[in-house]
């Protein structure tokens, strides 16, 4: 489903970094459909850069990235993400649901509207939205909060809204970039359980984290990064950094 082939990413020098920064070095791996993969590594190891490359927010300096999915007509397509133009990015992103550490909710929209937005952009009909948004909110346990604005929610609740938004349009892949970074242990496991449940329902999930507990307890595939290099890729990995 996903293939990284000899990917390098170098950020040019700027005011803060007088030397160019090599964020990723010769990264190659594959992810199959319905897998649950953890991307592990310390802050600055390259986890977020890897995700940004996958959703087309950044372009690799070298190498190729492939994303395989079924389009709306049921035809299998193999996109070479690194070659996509800006105008083609919305289509790619409609097949990927992303959950960020800082939630990235639209502040002027209610919980319901934030989740519905992901369906609106793909042109879903109003009855479908009215039917599916409450279901997604039920899955994340926020049905009662649907008319609240993000500023009225706790961190854990915001993250659950972000997850509901990421899965509402049934994407082929869900990526969670440090989704528990701002949460207490209780809410952390709440979110992880949700991601596991989503994976059990048949979604491919990529979870980027540096949380030792999560990595060691999940017993899932772990791709470990250090200083931009892939140092280990284990089927049932443990925290090694």
């Amino acid at each position: 489903m996903i293939k990284f082939q000899g990917v390098n990413k170098i950020y040019p020098a700027n005011n803060f970094h007088p030397e160019p920064t090599e964020a990723l070095k010769d990264i190659s791996f594959e992810i199959k459909e319905k897998e649950f993969v953890l991307i592990a590594g310390r802050s600055g190891a390259g986890k977020t850069t890897l995700i940004k490359l996958l959703i087309g927010e950044e372009k690799p300096t070298k190498g190729r990235i492939f994303f395989n999915f079924e389009d709306d007509q049921g035809i299998t397509r193999n996109l070479e993400v690194n070659k996509l133009k800006r105008k083609d990015l919305p289509e790619l992103r409609r097949h990927i649901g992303v959950v960020f550490q800082d939630y990235k909710l639209l502040p002027r929209k209610t919980v319901f509207e934030n989740v519905a937005y992901a369906l609106e952009v793909v042109g879903a009909q109003d009855p479908q939205i009215k039917n599916e948004v409450p279901k997604a909110l039920r899955i994340v346990g926020l049905e009662e909060r649907s008319n609240h604005f993000p500023s009225e929610l706790s961190g854990g609740e915001k993250q659950r809204v972000a997850i509901a938004r990421a899965l509402i349009h049934r994407p082929d892949l869900i990526i969670a970039d440090e989704p528990t970074g701002n949460l207490d242990p209780y809410h952390t496991w709440d979110i992880i359980k949700l991601l596991l449940k989503i994976n059990e329902l048949g979604e491919t999930v990529i979870l980027a984290t540096h949380d030792q507990d999560i990595i060691n307890n999940l017993e899932k595939r772990v791709i470990s990064l250090e200083d931009g290099k892939l140092i280990k890729d284990e089927k049932k990995g443990k925290y090694i950094i």
């Binding site: 992103r93 992303v98 990235k104 002027r108 929209k109 509207e113 952009v121 042109g123 109003d126």
Partner: protein
């Protein structure tokens, strides 16, 4: 397609409604711009009226010698009408001139007595000529100075009136030029302020624009709602400006009639209502759309 349009309209409206402070500021700045342009439009109408009223009062008179027949005077009138720039020529017979004089000084016994003593009508037949430019008056004076008019024309008062005529036209020309430049500068300042205000309003939404892109919204879906928001602000500003100007022109109209010698502000406002509305719509909606487009594009390209 319709469903996207409906969603863009709804999002634009909700953004407008939920960003209360920003919306109020944007509407207020747009109202100021639209009001300024409307004021310039009305001010131009009033100054044109004043200049035209003054221009009508500026003329030269050609006095004909005693005994020149009315037929010959009217022939001269036709000849003068052929000069480019001549606007109006009125023939005043000696009898009419006397009647006007008597009417003007009907309460002055001294003048009435003097007229009685004079016996016959002392007034000469004349042509009152109004032209568009100083040069036209010069052409008239030059033509009438030709030898063929020697036996007809007694006097042309152009040379006595020349300094006043020249002063008026020079004032008129400089007023028109400086008025245009001042209007353009004011309009540019107003445009820039509105443009910057809308850009600042959208700057506050730059993070939102990024999130919308990450969720998979297309560029036009994102741009659309900000354009709708801009149009709503512009429309509201137009509505307020129309109400304010209707009320002001109604209230100030009678005072301005006295002050300007006949310029009826309210009638002018009503008579030019659709021109003013078109100017306001072009400014309000145009500014709303263009500045939203430019500002959002900047964040979409990031």
């Amino acid at each position: 397609m319709w469903i996207y349009l409906k969603r863009i309209l709804k999002s634009g409206w909700l953004n407008f409604k939920r960003s209360q402070v920003l919306s109020v500021i944007t509407v207020f700045v747009m109202f100021l711009t639209i009001s300024l342009l409307t004021f310039i439009f009305i001010f131009k109408g009033a100054s044109d009226f004043l200049l035209y009223s003054l221009e009508k009062k500026i003329d030269v008179s050609v006095y004909f010698k005693e005994g020149v027949s009315e037929e010959e005077i009217l022939k001269t009138k036709d000849l003068l009408l052929e000069i480019q720039g001549v606007k109006i020529i009125n023939y005043v017979s000696p009898a009419e001139a006397l009647a006007k004089f008597k009417e003007r000084y009907k309460d002055d016994d001294l003048i009435a007595k003097a007229l009685e003593e004079a016996g016959d009508n002392p007034f000469l037949a004349s042509l009152n000529i109004t032209a568009s430019q100083v040069l036209d008056y010069e052409s008239i004076a030059k033509l009438l100075g030709e030898s063929r008019f020697e036996g007809l024309v007694s006097n042309v008062d152009y040379f006595q009136r020349k300094p006043v005529i020249e002063k008026f036209f020079s004032l008129k020309n400089s007023l028109e030029k400086t008025g245009l430049v001042a209007a353009l500068i004011l309009a540019m300042i107003a445009f820039s302020i509105t443009f910057v205000t809308i850009r600042l309003a959208i700057y506050s939404s730059s993070e939102e624009i990024g999130i919308m892109r990450l969720v998979g919204a297309s560029n036009w879906f994102i741009q659309g709602q900000f354009i709708v928001q801009g149009i709503i602000c512009g429309s509201l500003a137009i509505l307020i400006a129309l109400l304010v100007f209707s009320a002001l022109s109604y209230l100030l109209s009678s005072r301005l009639v006295d002050l300007t010698g006949g310029f009826n502000l309210f009638n002018y406002f009503l008579g030019n209502f659709f021109n003013i509305l078109a100017l306001q719509v072009l400014t309000g909606a145009g500014l709303g759309i263009i500045s939203s487009l430019v500002a959002v594009r900047k964040y979409l390209e990031k």
